[in-house]
């Protein structure tokens, strides 16, 4: 039997409040399992216990009751972190280091050195699209670039589990899409991804399963498609339908026991519209520049 990538059992975390009798229950009796190769989304409002859960899984905070395991290894043990790459929310790194130096530093912490380290740093800089900015100090990086270098450092030791806390927070739609594509590629490679996010639309696009936390309690959990499906409703998407065909469908629905709830034009997503518009603008600027150069 293979171990779950992440196993959380009976996890409770209570933070004492100094000089007060009351304490804060951040997570209450949480149980969840994430299987290898899954993309699992831990969702919930601010203060719901997402970050505390992630910190306990990473061994940064100790549980009050219960425990967590990573591939069968107690996550309080340092060796459990050999299998994990972590990207915190809004990461700050040492501003005085360049992108390359940052990856070298984290690589050395993971026992890499010499040619292996050099190769890995180059591969990752290429992967996250920062090869050109490799020798720039992180103090000059944009938020999106910081997020990408953060993702690269999380991958430096080729982990089997990637823990991402709000991976696209503060990143523009194009950068956000790049990170999303990368997560899907990593999933394709068999890497398990555990992410917490506020961006529900994005979580919907990439997660296989989700868990919703509210006030430290897991209120919903399961396969995304099963959770969001409305059992007694069906959608039909038709292209080039004539007015006559639509009227016919409506009258058929009216004759049966069904009820037509809504009739509307299909829409694209705002993200797709934004990306098309900005890419078209970039292409136009490039061709204008080329035309000027030719003159």
């Amino acid at each position: 039997m293979t171990n779950s990538a992440v196993a959380v059992h009976g996890l409770t975390k209570i933070f004492p409040v100094p000089f007060h009798r009351q304490s804060v229950v951040a997570v209450k009796d949480l149980n969840l399992r994430i299987e290898p190769g899954e993309v699992y989304g831990l969702l919930g409002p601010n203060g719901s216990g997402k970050s505390t859960t992630l910190k306990i899984i990473l061994g940064l905070v100790s549980p009050t009751r219960g425990g967590t395991e990573i591939f069968g290894c107690d996550s309080r043990l340092v060796e459990s972190r050999e299998a994990v790459g972590f990207l915190p929310e809004n990461p700050y790194f040492y501003k005085y280091l360049t992108g390359k130096e940052t990856l070298r530093f984290f690589g050395r912490l993971c026992g890499l050195r010499g040619a292996a380290l050099k190769n890995r740093v180059n591969e990752l800089l290429d992967l996250v699209g920062l090869t050109k900015a490799r020798n720039r100090r992180l103090g000059t990086y944009s938020k999106g670039m910081l997020q990408r270098i953060g993702l690269a450092q999380a991958l430096i030791h080729d982990p089997r589990l990637l823990v991402l806390d709000e991976p696209t927070a503060g990143v523009d739609p194009a950068g956000s899409r790049d990170i999303r594509d990368l997560i899907l590629e990593l999933k394709g490679r068999g890497i398990t991804v555990l992410l917490s996010s506020h961006l529900l639309a994005q979580a919907q696009e990439i997660c296989d399963r989700i868990g919703i936390l509210a006030n430290g309690v897991l209120v919903r959990e399961g396969h995304l498609q099963e959770l969001i499906a409305i059992e007694n409703q069906t959608e039909l998407v038709i292209t080039d339908a004539s007015e006559e065909l639509i009227r016919e469908i409506e009258s058929t629905v009216a004759r049966s026991n069904g009820k037509l709830i809504e009739r509307r034009k299909s829409t694209t997503t705002l993200e797709r519209l934004f990306l098309e518009a900005t890419r078209a603008d970039e292409t136009k600027m490039q061709s204008n520049e080329e035309a000027r150069n030719e003159k």
């Binding site: 990473l58 061994g59 050999e82 040492y94 984290f106 026992g111 591969e123 992967l127 080729d158």
Partner: protein, 311 residues
């Protein structure tokens, strides 16, 4: 970064060398944190300000030529060794106070400890970085002091040779010997080593305080308090023992006070060096051991507190 590019890069991952298996203790991890800490501290403006002030103070001693050469050398040694002592102590406190809180505020600590890095290695790497920086600063300031002392000695020797150009050779040799013996004193070197060990002690104590402090300012204020108490505690202890019986309770109480507030006056060998009193090997060894002992104890305490810290 297109999907195709991403996929091809990920293909390369499979062929590249994997990270080595986890070892419970690794010098290379500590070394990585140490070197990074030194880099971090040398980029701080406060480091340069302190170093420049120290060097200026040592250099300013050159302009004390209106005194007799004995007085001049005495003042030069007094001011320079005092400056090295104060600036290494200040540097130890100011540089160390920010290390842990800054990493925690910037969440870099999460990223580092989410890697297979034991907490004690993080603490060891940080303190080793500070101690290395202090060693470099002490060496730079010590070298500047010795250079100034040498330049002044040579100037006095030159002037004496000119003044005594017609004097018998024996008299000139005696005069030169007196100048050289009042300038250089072999005890300067153990004196500088003890100054460095005092700074190491203060750095380790600052690191310990910063493991439970809420801000840099809190750590610096607490350390300033400990610094002054530490310089006064020997006098206070003597007074206490004079006034009270030296029973077991008193001795335990004094031991606790000595642990919380190290006797920093014990590290003050500058007065002996200036007075020309020889520092015996036993005094040097005792003081050095005390410095190493305190530095080790505070580092262990910092590690202990940091292990239980919720991040």
């Amino acid at each position: 970064m297109s999907n195709g590019e991403t996929a091809s890069t990920l293909q390369q991952f499979n062929t590249s060398t994997s990270a080595k298996r986890y070892r419970p203790f690794s010098f290379s991890r500590i070394y990585a944190i140490t070197i990074n800490t030194v880099t971090e501290l040398t980029r701080l403006k406060v480091f340069y300000v302190l170093l420049i002030f120290g060097l200026l103070l040592i250099g300013s001693s050159i302009f004390m030529a209106q005194f007799s050469f004995q007085q001049e050398f005495q003042i030069l040694k007094d001011v320079s060794l005092g400056a090295i002592s104060i600036f290494t102590s200040l540097l130890a406190i100011v540089a160390t106070a920010r290390l842990l809180p800054q990493d925690l505020d910037d969440r870099i600590l999460y990223t580092i400890l989410a890697k297979p890095v034991p907490r004690f290695e993080y603490i060891l790497g940080k303190i080793a970085g500070v101690l290395l920086l202090l060693a470099i600063s002490t060496l730079v300031m010590g070298a500047a002091f010795l250079l100034v002392l040498y330049i002044r000695e040579q100037a006095v020797v030159h002037a004496t040779l000119q003044q005594m150009s017609n004097a018998p050779r024996d008299q000139v040799a005696d005069a030169i010997r007196i100048i050289q013996s009042s300038a250089f004193n072999i005890d300067i070197f153990p004196g500088i080593v003890i100054i460095y060990l005092k700074a190491c002690l203060l750095a380790a104590l600052t690191l310990f305080v910063s493991t439970f402090a809420t801000s840099n300012i809190f750590t610096i204020v607490v350390m300033a308090f400990i610094y002054f108490i530490g310089h006064l505690q020997a006098t206070a202890r003597e007074y206490w023992l004079h006034e009270h019986s030296s029973g077991l309770v008193s001795r335990i109480f004094l031991a606790i006070v000595a642990l919380l507030f190290p006797d920093l006056q014990a590290f003050n060998l500058v007065d002996d060096i200036i007075a020309g009193t020889a520092i015996s090997l036993s005094v040097f060894a005792k003081t050095a051991l005390l410095g190493v002992f305190y530095t080790t104890i505070y580092t262990l305490l910092a590690t202990f507190v940091f292990y239980g810290k919720e991040l």
